[in-house]
């Protein structure tokens, strides 16, 4: 793909006269049109219940020299990581902090009033808007050049089997929560089921043809014709299947370890399986957007494999001076950052099919949380950890903002994909446009 046309030609093609040029130039979308032809991808990872600020945020702004304890697993990707401090979820309205935390995180807009009652505040229902992952999916699916089989895939790990405001973060529209798939086998059959069907079909066609011959020999001459026509169709199916199997899928069909069922103690295995499937689905270009949701807002994972017996949410309510609890919470957060690091590693190991570099070069991972900190339920300083080269942001840095609305980060992601919207979610928080400082030095 080449982009040789000038800006003037570009504007002429839009049918906009030169008279409006000066105004257009002020809009970011015309100032720097997205000319990237690479396959850009986005993964949003959610882990719940806030973090421990003292073991998470670096002390200084600028180039990351070293990570605090919670983020040490990301050390191999220090150069490719961007930490955003001071980005706040400023959406208010119905629902308690956890509900708004997850429900407004990717939508940037208020929850509807409803019948789900939290520990405080008014009851609420679902989000009143679409989430950024689904918005970008729609954007990419509209254009044949970026359209993929699924557009977006919603992964989960141990998401409770109940649909309420605390368990959903992705929305295809107002009142339209998207259910993440937290069973790797279910995700596998979504991704590869068709292929397995074809294999099964192929395996029985020989036997079928054989029986057609036998049946054909039993019927009279006049009746044979319809059976012969039918047998011809069966043979055609077989030929078509063989032809289809030669098409390259870009990667071998993964083999899942059997019998890993939903169980708190299996979380590490489930997480690995889901991440492997996610990487495969990118390698096969099944989707360009993915979400990966660990448990839920108010999640109660018991990370016994780390020696943490308590539920995560219970721990997160412990005060700052309970050092044992804070240490445990740090361990928990560190485990989540291991998962992010594993995803980054797998992406970095996978060459970009038909392109330059590897998948991580063209993917941005956004790891986030519904709260800034568990014991205060604050929606300020929501952790946003970005990894990978998908957006062209300047990585390897820690940035501090002064209480900026997270809507602006959502806008940045949209713009990063060339989706030049000027508001996302509640427009009151979008006036200043995408976040500054993400690119450049």
């Amino acid at each position: 793909m080449t982009y040789r046309n000038t800006r003037r030609e570009f504007i002429q093609n839009l049918g906009v006269s030169a008279a409006v040029l000066p105004f257009l130039s002020n809009l970011p979308c015309f100032a720097a049109p997205n000319r990237s032809a690479r396959k850009q991808r986005l993964v949003i990872i959610f882990s719940p219940d806030g973090i421990v600020p003292s073991t998470f945020w670096p002390d200084t702004e600028g180039k990351i020299v070293s990570f605090k304890e919670s983020l040490t697993p990301l050390d191999p990707f220090r150069e490719r990581t961007l930490l955003l401090n001071g980005v706040c979820d400023r959406i208010r309205g119905d629902g308690d902090g956890h509900m708004r935390g997850i429900g407004c995180l990717l939508t940037g807009v208020e929850l509807f009033p409803g019948n789900v009652q939290g520990g405080s505040d008014t009851p609420a229902g679902w989000s009143s808007g679409i989430s950024i992952d689904q918005e970008l999916k729609n954007f990419l699916q509209r254009d044949p050049a970026t359209r993929t089989r699924f557009g977006a895939l919603e992964f989960g790990v141990m998401v409770p089997e109940r649909a309420d405001t605390w368990t959903r973060m992705s929305y295809s529209g107002p009142n339209k929560p998207v259910t993440p798939i937290d069973d790797p086998y279910q995700m596998f059959s979504k991704l590869y089921g068709r292929l397995r069907d074809q294999e099964s079909l192929k395996s029985v066609l020989d036997d079928l043809k054989q029986d057609f011959d036998k049946v054909g020999s039993q019927v009279g001459k006049q009746d044979r014709q319809i059976l012969e026509e039918h047998a011809t169709l069966v043979r055609e199916t077989e030929q078509e299947l063989s032809a289809e199997n030669k098409v390259d899928r870009g990667h071998p069909v993964p083999v899942l370890e059997p019998g890993v069922h939903r169980d708190n103690d299996r979380m590490p295995q489930l997480s690995k399986m889901q991440i492997d499937l996610l990487v495969n689905s990118f390698a096969g270009d099944f989707a360009r957007v993915a979400t990966l949701q660990y448990t839920n807002s108010v999640g109660q994972a018991r990370m016994r494999w780390l020696g943490v017996e308590e539920g995560q949410h219970d721990l997160s309510h412990e005060p700052d001076n309970n050092t044992v609890a804070q240490e445990k919470l740090t361990k928990v957060t560190k485990w989540y950052s291991e998962q992010v690091a594993y995803l980054a590693k797998r992406l970095a190991e996978t060459p970009e099919p038909g392109g330059e570099g590897n998948l991580l070069d063209n993917t941005i991972i956004v790891w986030t949380n519904e709260l800034g900190q568990g014991n205060s339920h604050t929606l300020d300083n929501i952790p946003f950890v970005l990894v990978g080269g998908g957006m062209g942001f300047t990585m390897g840095r820690s940035l501090k903002y002064d209480n900026v609305a997270h809507n602006r980060l959502l806008l940045s992601l949209a713009h990063g994909f060339g989706h030049r919207i000027n508001r996302f979610g509640n427009p009151d928080f979008c006036a200043d446009g995408p976040l500054s400082k993400l690119t450049g030095r």
């Binding site: 409803g114 309420d164 029985v204 039993q218 009746d223 026509e229 039918h230 169709l233 055609e236």
Partner: protein, 703 residues
């Protein structure tokens, strides 16, 4: 041929040759003269879908519906469905409640917090996509067919979202389990103690549906059963429609699209079975159990015991080659559903094979596979004599599936199975809303069912009854007094005006224009469907003369004027005088005596084949004539036979038709008895007699 033993002259010879060619040797004549035979046919789409549903269903508990209607309801004074909080248990005929700011009546409830659960089954009258609608301001979940996963999950009540819809494809004539939960309360953290300081929000709930090609209505109690049926597997793969060129669906041809659809349906079925293996086969990995399941599955699909060779090919080979037993089951299912032994009826076996007889019976009566009882009868040698077969048919005709198939016949016979467009001129007929049109169809349905499923099941009553099912919305339009919200009930219309199905307003409105009646459409229906005559297509496409062009003419006069040319009269001399008898019914089937100030003339006539012309004063005269006409009986028997059996009646010999007609007469024109007789007759097809003429017809035709 020139009559008499005269010698053929030179000028006559070419004419004789041409006649002989046209009558015996031309391709058309060969087609015409080919003896009708029972041809190898694949299952029709209806048959295939029914067969799969019954095949999978045969591994589940069988439930019989009983007479009760409505849903089992439980009312709880809490936000949970616990036995100790249950206040009321009863049957609700339908779910349409407005509680306002109160609790449900009939018990003591905190108006802030109560819950209900309705359970039972839903009967789908037609095949197609149903849109199910639940309207409520509070939390609700709805399950239809699959009781594991709700099709409406609105347990989170959010914003002004009070209308919840879901679509589901259902095969008609079957019952599907349903459960509806309602909860007026908050979820999550319980803060009920603060309720007394809060205003009571309003509460209501309605369970409604939009049947295929109908408008939304609360699901009526006649479509609800308090018994919970087992889940039914429904093949939702779309299929290309079957050939209907002979007036009935038949499986006489195949196409690539059809073959692909059978593949998708096979995959859909194998996926479903894989997902329900524990329930259907008793295990997901025990090879013995799974093989036993497969043996039954293949046997039922093939409708006969398996020979060792078949068992080896269909089952053993799959279990040897597949990586694991569960995959083997998937392959067995795929192979079976793609097999000619499943997909074809009448697969060249010996004439009096009891399993063939069983299949012929079940496909004729149910459009589906033989059930356990029938297969057992075949296995034990009790499906040999005509009497034994008739006894089975008698048993089977009581099954709801038999009525469903008969009902489909009546809709096709009356040419309304494709849902005619009933939009009428709203200025002339402001009362005729889409709701009225939908109600009329239900009214015809109930009126038909009332006659056909009655003890007498009398064909003559179908033509003569003046008892119609109307509701409060229809009553005032058709001259009856009922309360506005009255449900459907039998009412008697004036017997001088109405007589049977011919004068049912739905039929009359269907065979009419937007603002005027159409004697031609009505006449064609009478000629073809009731009298069984064939009509050629009109020589050209005609636009009906607009009424405004001849403001002083009645519809009858206008039709007579337009069809006056001799070329028209060859058919219209039959069509018009039949259609004119129904002229006292306008475009919405309302009775009238005058049109444009002119009294309506309903005089008509009919000239039967080989009989004297008959005159009718009007609709009732005509109905009475048809009820007693042998010609009409013949037509009815023939059409009914071909619809049930899906083979030409001629293939069964002239004697068959005469016998059937004879027994129809002896049984006082009992249609249910006729169904039994047809199924029995068709269970013993004659060997196709060879027609000498066509065997030598491949010879050169004379030049």
């Amino acid at each position: 041929m020139p009559p008499g033993p005269k010698k053929c002259s030179v000028t006559d010879a070419p004419k004789v040759a041409a006649y002989i060619h046209d009558a015996f040797y031309s391709p058309l004549a060969q087609e015409r003269n080919r003896p009708a035979r029972v041809a190898l046919s694949r299952l029709t789409v209806r048959q295939l879908k029914n067969a799969v549903t019954d095949l999978v269903g045969s591994f589940r508990t069988q439930v019989s519906p009983g007479e009760a209607q409505g849903l089992r309801a439980e009312y709880f004074r809490a936000n949970q469905f616990r036995g100790e909080d249950r206040v009321i248990e009863r049957i609700d005929p339908e779910v349409r409640f407005n509680y306002g700011q109160q609790g449900p009546s009939g018990g003591k409830f905190d108006p802030h917090q109560f819950s209900m659960r309705w359970q039972g089954s839903l009967v789908a009258p037609d095949t197609g996509v149903y849109e199910i609608v639940v309207r409520t301001e509070h939390a609700t979940n709805l399950w239809v067919n699959d009781l594991e996963k709700p099709i409406i999950d609105a347990w989170v009540q959010s914003g002004k979202d009070t209308e919840h819809t879901a679509s589901i494809y259902l095969v008609g004539g079957r019952a599907y389990p349903i459960r509806l939960d309602f909860s007026k309360s908050k979820q999550g953290v319980d803060d009920a103690e603060k309720n007394k300081d809060r205003p009571v929000p309003k509460a209501s709930i309605t369970l409604a549906w939009k049947r295929p090609q109908q408008i939304e209505e609360p699901i009526p109690s006649r479509c609800l059963i308090p018994t919970t049926f087992p889940e039914a597997f429904v093949v939702s793969t779309p299929f290309p429609p079957d050939d209907r060129s002979m007036g009935y669906e038949r499986g006489n041809s195949i196409s690539k699209e059809w073959d692909e659809a059978t593949t998708s349906a096979a995959l859909e079925t194998s996926d479903y079975i894989a997902a329900h293996l524990k329930e259907l086969a008793g295990s997901t990995d025990d090879k013995e159990k799974l093989m036993a399941f497969c043996r039954k599955f293949v046997e039922r699909a093939h409708r006969r015991p398996l020979s060792p060779a078949i068992e080896k090919l269909y089952i053993e080979r799959q279990f040897t080659t597949a990586p694991d037993p569960a995959t083997a089951v998937k392959r067995v299912v795929l192979l079976t559903m793609k097999s000619p032994r499943f997909l074809y009826r009448e697969l060249g076996t010996v004439e009096k094979d009891p399993y063939d007889i069983a299949s012929r019976l079940s496909f004729a009566l149910w459009d589906s596979l033989p059930d356990e009882t029938l297969l057992k009868a075949a296995a034990t040698g009790s499906l040999v004599t005509r009497k034994q077969v008739a006894q089975q048919a008698e048993r089977m005709v009581a099954d709801p599936r038999a009525w469903y198939k008969q009902r489909e016949f009546f809709l096709q016979w009356l040419k309304i199975d494709q849902h005619p467009d009933l939009a009428k001129d709203t200025k002339r007929f402001p009362l005729f809303t889409p709701a009225v049109a939908a109600d009329l169809r239900t009214s015809l349905d109930l009126t038909l069912e009332n006659v056909v499923r009655s003890e007498r099941s009398d064909f003559r009553e179908l033509l003569m009854t003046n008892r119609y099912f109307l509701n409060g919305r229809l009553a005032p339009i058709y001259g009856v007094t009922l309360p506005t919200n009255a449900p459907f009930q039998p009412v008697s219309l004036d017997p001088k005006e109405r007589s049977g199905v011919l004068t049912h307003p739905y039929l009359l409105a269907s065979f009419a224009y937007r603002s005027s009646s159409s004697p031609i459409h009505r006449g064609v229906l009478l000629t073809r469907s009731f009298m069984g005559r064939t009509l050629a297509a009109p020589p050209a496409a005609f636009v009906p003369l607009p009424a405004s062009l001849h403001p002083n003419l009645t519809t009858r006069q206008r039709v007579a004027l337009q069809t006056k040319p001799a070329a028209c009269m060859s058919c219209h001399s039959t069509i018009n005088p039949l259609g004119f008898t129904l002229e006292k019914f306008d475009a919405i089937g309302r009775f009238r005596s005058v049109e444009n100030g002119t009294p309506i003339n309903t005089a008509g006539s009919y000239e039967p084949r080989g009989g004297q012309p008959v005159k009718f004063a009007g609709a009732r005269d005509l109905s009475r004539y048809i009820a007693g006409s042998e010609e009409a009986h013949t037509a009815f028997v023939e059409k009914f036979f071909q619809y049930l059996v899906k083979q030409p009646i001629r293939a069964y010999g002239a004697q068959s038709r005469n016998d059937l007609q004879g027994s129809f007469r002896t049984n006082k024109y009992n249609m249910r008895q006729l169904t039994v007789a047809i199924a029995t007759e068709a269970a013993f097809p004659k060997k196709a007699s060879s027609f000498k003429g066509t065997q030598t017809a491949t010879a050169q035709s004379p030049q």
